[in-house]
Amino acid sequence: MIRTLETCRAQVRRCSLCGNLDATDPCAICSDGSRDGASLCVVEEVEDLWAVERAGFFRGRYHVLGGRLSALDGIGPDELRIGEMLARVQAEGVQEVVLGLGATVEGQTTAHYLAERLQGLGVAVTGFGRGVPVGGELNFLDEGTLAAAYRARRPFA
């Protein structure tokens, strides 16, 4: 067990491009030539990257910010990997930035800030929708999610 942990510590490193954790740098996702380089999904933490990756719908690349703006924890823009994200958007020919940040006050404050910084770079900026989850019964949903789902309503057919 100790040896395994030591091996992990010795081999796992942070990807210098996206901030993911992997045994190689660049990580397997960044090295995969079949992925769509025009789409960049920005997430708060590595666990969020893997949550999106597990779902299997996204075939672009990722960028891990390393947190979110938080007044309580004193995390400002300088503490996050925002400069690296902007540099990647310009250098890698990204056409769409998907802001995959949490539906929390801090997550969306960070998303609005990033959208502002991305303005003028000629990329489409999108964010995940909020609404009724698959398998969700309306009477079990919280008021905030229901209200978000109502605001995001769309015509049928």
Partner: protein, 249 residues
């Protein structure tokens, strides 16, 4: 020990697997912390977002303990504002200021009323920006650093008040300001007559309150003002000019 009160969620920290330590600003008990069992769970996470107004029950064996907190929604403001950058910044700034500036377990019903007025006003109509500046004035007053904006500190005049002394926090009439005018803080008209301000006047108001928040609350304890307040200023206008450094009287 147990109390039942209403309050706004100010901030929360993870505690263990799924619990949170929450700071709330309550009507009768001021800023008060408590442990929320399962507060980080999928079922409860939406409830404990900053800015949400909840019906709270706090329970502890003795008054000194952290105690446990339970909440039921009164109005979940955070979810309503997630898509509105300016309003979200206003909500975050107000909650961060209350969290950083107010003493724990010290009731401030007047400040609670000002907070309630502000949060209820948050919406697409930017009239809430005036409420935000007034909220900061009330916060300063409740912290013991109220500004005297009703008469001129130099001449005693109650008309033509256009400046505030950065040293004393007292209003100064335009006629009495003389050569000191460039070193004084602007006193926006809406704070005197209740008119609807434009963004430039709101920024003047925020520079006025910001000067005293920095000088009297945050510099005194060697802490920076909350990032959320800086973000609100960023969204509203260009960077502030250098703050006045010379006393006016």
């Amino acid at each position: 020990m147990e109390w039942h009160d209403e309050g706004f969620v100010l901030s929360r920290r993870r505690h263990g697997e799924g619990s949170l330590v929450v700071n709330a600003f309550t009507f009768e008990h001021g800023r008060h912390a408590g442990l929320v069992q399962g507060g980080g769970s999928r079922a409860q996470a939406h409830l404990w977002q900053p800015g949400n107004r909840l019906d709270l029950v706090w329970h502890a064996r003795t008054a000194e303990h952290l105690g446990s907190l339970k909440g039921e929604p009164i109005r979940l403001h955070a979810a309503d504002l997630l898509d509105a950058p300016l309003e979200l910044a206003g909500l975050s700034a107000a909650m961060a200021l209350l969290d950083a500036a107010m003493a724990e377990r010290d009731p401030h019903p007047v400040l609670y009323a000002a907070t309630l007025r502000l949060i209820d006003a948050l919406g697409e109509d930017e009239a809430w920006l005036a409420d935000y500046v007034r909220f900061e004035l009330v916060l300063l007053a409740e912290a013991g650093f109220g500004l005297a904006l009703d008469r001129c500190a130099v001449s005693g005049a109650t008309e033509g008040l256009t400046y505030v002394s950065p040293r004393t926090g007292a209003a100064v009439a335009e006629t009495a300001a003389g050569d000191w005018a460039p070193r004084l803080l602007k006193l926006p008209r809406f704070l005197l007559d209740g008119s609807r301000p434009d963004r430039a006047e709101v920024v003047d108001g925020l520079r006025l309150t910001g000067h005293f928040l920095d000088q009297r609350l945050f510099d005194a304890v060697n802490r920076p003002p909350p990032q959320a307040r800086l973000r609100l200023l960023d969204l509203l206008g260009p960077p502030a000019p250098d703050a006045p450094t010379q006393p006016a009287d």
